[in-house]
């Protein structure tokens, strides 16, 4: 594993060198917060941020994504035939994503890349992307990554991990893709691998909030499902999509056809299990008509069903966005602890 030292004086130059081979996506200031966006030709990623408001999951999984186009013009011999939308899967690189968001992408991959099925849109975008992480030396107050199977220096899902060392970044190349990117930027000064361990320990020590997860796997799903606390916990919830849209691990989507005149597009859009429409059947029957049912689904999926199905821990990386942004102060930490500690009356 190679470690490269990137003097900050060479940072902007290196980023510029990357532009010829990669579409660059990085954190930029949007309004009053940071978000990930494609960098303009003269724009540098703004690396001074706590966490972005939305996660960079949209780089791989856009909120609205065309899949097919079609014509409704019956004079067109190819009318009503779905054709693949034009896509740009040229190499792209996300610069400065947090380790939690990278781990989230590797969790989401379990859903989109299975032995039986490979989601072409998600996977093609994923394969085209090099993930350059920025370790978190100053975690936010709502971060609980260390107890959610992740951490401020977590490497899973990243191709390069950067650690900010004042005048320079130490860059750990974690994959071939990562090495290639560092070479393309022209960064080649030998780095110091020894800084990572102590900095990691420092950063982890700063994360003071935790969740209890040890008992989740051993619980009976039906006991948790029937637990008496769901109505009380969900009382404040307004059933908006804030938590699901801001969550780096929420992957649900809804497919829609949109026509304009004789042209149409079949697209997929992020969907949210918080809405009633999410489970509305064609028959008109809806198995989740009540707020607490939808609320329960979200947390059972993240903290129980996923845990049982994949045996890879939670479907949560502890980024804390839902906690920070929920308008009604629904806190996944509270709910996780409640589920973990629940004993059904025998």
């Amino acid at each position: 594993m190679k470690v490269i030292k990137i003097d900050k004086k060479t940072w902007a130059g290196g980023i510029n060198s990357l532009r010829s081979g990669y579409r660059l996506i990085g954190p930029v200031v949007k309004g009053d917060a940071h978000d990930f966006a494609e960098l303009a030709s003269d724009e540098a990623p703004d690396m001074a941020f706590g966490n972005t408001r939305l996660s960079p999951k949209s780089v791989i999984f856009p909120q609205s994504e065309p899949m097919f186009t079609y014509s409704l013009d019956e004079s067109d011999p190819e009318h009503h035939i779905l054709k693949d939308s034009t896509k740009d899967y040229s190499p792209r690189a996300v610069i400065g994503m947090r380790p939690c968001d990278a781990k989230a992408i590797s969790l989401v991959r379990m859903n989109f890349d299975t032995p039986d099925y490979r989601d072409p849109y998600w996977m093609d975008a994923y394969d085209a992307t090099t993930f350059v992480g920025l370790a978190c030396d100053n975690p936010c107050t709502t971060c609980f990554c260390t107890s959610a199977g992740c951490g401020p220096y977590h490497e899973e899902g990243l191709d390069v991990l950067l650690s900010d060392c004042g005048d320079a970044y130490e860059a750990k190349a974690l994959t071939e893709k990562g090495e290639k990117l560092l070479a393309a930027a022209g960064w080649d000064a030998e780095g110091d691998v020894s800084i990572f361990e102590p900095k990691k320990a420092d950063a982890e020590a700063k994360i003071t909030c935790t969740v209890e997860t040890g008992n989740l796997r051993g619980k009976n799903s039906l006991d948790l499902y029937d637990a008496p606390f769901w109505k009380e916990l969900s009382f404040a919830c307004i059933n908006c999509g804030t938590c699901t849209y801001t969550c780096p691990t929420c992957w649900c989507f809804d497919i829609q056809d949109e026509n304009k005149g004789k042209e149409g597009v079949r697209m997929r859009n992020w969907d949210s299990c918080m809405t009633s429409l999410f489970t509305m059947h064609g028959s008109g029957h809806n198995p989740r008509t009540e707020k607490h049912q939808r609320f329960r689904q979200r947390f059972m999926h993240k903290l129980k069903y996923f845990v049982d199905k994949y045996d890879k821990g939670l479907m949560c990386v502890g980024c804390g966005r839902c906690v920070q942004q929920c308008p009604a102060n629904i806190d996944i930490r509270t709910i996780c602890n409640k589920m973990n500690g629940y004993e059904a009356a025998s």
Binding site: G31, T141, I238, G241, T242, N269, A328, N329
Partner: protein
């Protein structure tokens, strides 16, 4: 304002103990700074969890819609006006409610705790307009405030400028619908955004669909909006969504002399007809 909490707890405990109500809808301490969580207390022993401070932004009328039990609800000025709306619109009956009024000096801005939320800064109905119990002395209402400075600034713009202003305003919207879901006025069994036959608007992120959503949401609040600010407080992207509803609120004021939610004794102008209703828009 923190001093009200003692009285709130005392009243709540009494109402629960003597069986006047089955539950109390209020706020409990949040788990993150500058946030409290709406809650429902059903046992007198849990009354201790109630809090009241300047972070009780959400409108508790939103939690009353369609409920059947006897409820005590803690209401600041705007909450009480939305309770009036709910009563007028048959979403709850007056007899079901014990309204614990809280005179309010405004909620602080969640992003800037040094200042009040913008709707609170220009609020002219800080005292509850309807209540059964009161938690403290009524506060003096503000009279010398200019509520519509920002609306007038947009009104003065050229058409293209206006279009661009709202384009920029909505650019961060993810259509999470926190604004409509935090709004006590939004209680339709199926919202127009969820209708599929016919489908009124696209589901994607096209700016026209985003704008149509915001425009129609606001329009459904015409003559009903109390400018409580729950929509803006709820928005995770900090979009000034009140720019839509405030224009309607201002128009209603100018055209009908109407402020929503002040009395249960008068039908709102948009659901009643008078011979002298303004009709300038009819050609």
């Amino acid at each position: 304002m923190e001093s009200y909490i003692g009285k709130i707890k005392e009243i709540s405990e009494r109402l629960l103990n003597d069986g006047t109500v089955e539950c109390v809808v209020g706020f409990r301490k949040g788990t993150v700074a500058l946030t409290n969580e709406p809650c429902m207390i059903t046992k007198a022993s849990d009354v201790k969890d109630l809090v009241w401070d300047s972070n009780c932004r959400l409108n508790l009328a939103n939690y009353l819609t369609g409920r059947k039990e006897k409820i005590a609800v803690i209401a600041k000025g705007c909450d009480s006006r939305n309770i009036v709306n709910h009563i007028i619109e048959n979403k709850i009956s007056r007899e079901q409610l014990v309204i614990i009024g809280v005179p309010c000096k405004g909620m602080v801005d969640k992003n800037n705790p040094e200042s009040l939320q913008s709707n609170c800064a220009t609020c002219t109905h800080r005292n509850p307009v309807i209540y059964d119990e009161l938690c403290g002395e009524l506060v003096e209402e503000q009279t010398d405030v200019d509520k519509y400075e920002d609306v007038r600034a947009v009104e003065a713009m050229e058409t293209q400028e206006k279009w661009a202003f709202f384009e920029e305003l909505l650019s961060g919207c993810t259509r999470c619908y926190a604004c409509k879901n935090a709004c006590p006025l939004c209680y339709c069994p199926t919202c127009f955004v969820d209708e599929s036959q016919p489908q009124w608007i696209g589901k994607g992120t096209d700016p026209i669909d985003v704008r149509t959503y915001h425009f129609l949401r606001a329009y459904h609040c015409a003559g009903r909006c109390t400018d409580c600010g729950a929509c803006e407080a709820a928005c995770p992207q900090n979009i000034k969504v009140r720019q839509f509803t405030k224009k309607l609120e201002k128009d209603c004021n100018e055209l009908y002399g109407w402020e929503a939610g002040l009395t249960v004794d008068q039908r709102p102008p948009l659901d009643s007809f008078k011979l002298d209703d303004p009709d300038k828009f009819i050609m």
